[in-house]
Subunit: 205 residues, 2 copies
Amino acid sequence: MARLSFREQVLRVREDAIVESVNRLLADKGFDLMTVDEVAADVGIAKASLYKHFPSKEALAAAAMVRLLQRTLAVIDQQAARPEATAMQRLEALTRWALELQVAGEMPTLPSQNSSLRAELMAHRAYLELLLQVSERLGEWIVQAQAAGDIDATLPPEVVLYTIFARACDPVPAFLKAAGQHSNAQIVEWVLSTCLHGLHGPAAR
Amino acid sequence: MARLSFREQVLRVREDAIVESVNRLLADKGFDLMTVDEVAADVGIAKASLYKHFPSKEALAAAAMVRLLQRTLAVIDQQAARPEATAMQRLEALTRWALELQVAGEMPTLPSQNSSLRAELMAHRAYLELLLQVSERLGEWIVQAQAAGDIDATLPPEVVLYTIFARACDPVPAFLKAAGQHSNAQIVEWVLSTCLHGLHGPAAR
DNA sequence: GTCTATAGCCAGATAGAC
DNA sequence: GTCTATCTGGCTATAGAC
């Protein structure tokens, strides 16, 4: 890989700072309530400068989602490197990581309804590529976990995949945090338990 | 109760039509993407006339939520009238009803992040009153189901309550509908199963 | 590439006649 | 209470100087 010039490194660092701000603001207020002015103010540059780096608000959101998917893949790699772990344990670890990210207020979430945003995401190659990679690698583990009897084999793998994905925007952690009576770790364990064992709980197993 | 005059009845009917439109638009596009112009056009009146009935966009959303909670209470009453049913069966029936409403595209959902909306809801007495009623009546069934061993007794009842509430805005049904390969009834059963028994499924019971 | 200043647009809310 | 026409503010995006 070619070495980056100093100018390019500066550029890269600045863009990282932008995407990190976007990530936090998306986690905080969501796409519709996040304004480009806020992002610029948070990064500490002028709004017009922002638009030199990213052509639209949608592109900002897409960049934040790409960053999230890259981190997700890193966690997947990390779990894949545990030879002693079962597929189910890997899926559980990934889901726990996502929930921890969420209770820490660092999980960006996009409205699935906004059509201009959807259009831009569906045209974003890096995003689609990463989404496909994540889906495929989780898909393998899901099938393995079903074969091992750890996941209900009558569920289509896509149902399992979406159910795991949905933990990233589960409103339950936010509600429990708002109540203010429980630790983040406790909240994560409860939500993870209801995801894996349902309301009935793991008692009978 | 005093009989309503003819004028009052007309008013009531019109407001019902407004709230029904809001309900569908909220289910369709969500609060942020729903415009007051659309609501007016959908009802077939001028925007200014809308504002004679409801003082703000937030008030429109609140009215839709009040309607939803009233219907929820009606379903709760209906379940309470089944003497042979267990608390768990009643909770399950209510959750199934909510999921059916969602796949039918009739479940209004509000962004939990919007603060002006939250403020207006928290100041809306009828809404709060109904929310409290629903929570208390479900809370009773939850405690009973825990005592009967149907729900994990180590979960705080509020965790169970929020988990059930969250089925109303679960993104999984919408994703599965978008895939277009499954019937609405099948989708409801899968999501209900993952809610009650988790990914592991009911096999071991 | 950074800034200040502003264009252009859209949506929530209102004025005022009827 | 209904309408048409308009106000107002905030937001995305851009022009143009440096």
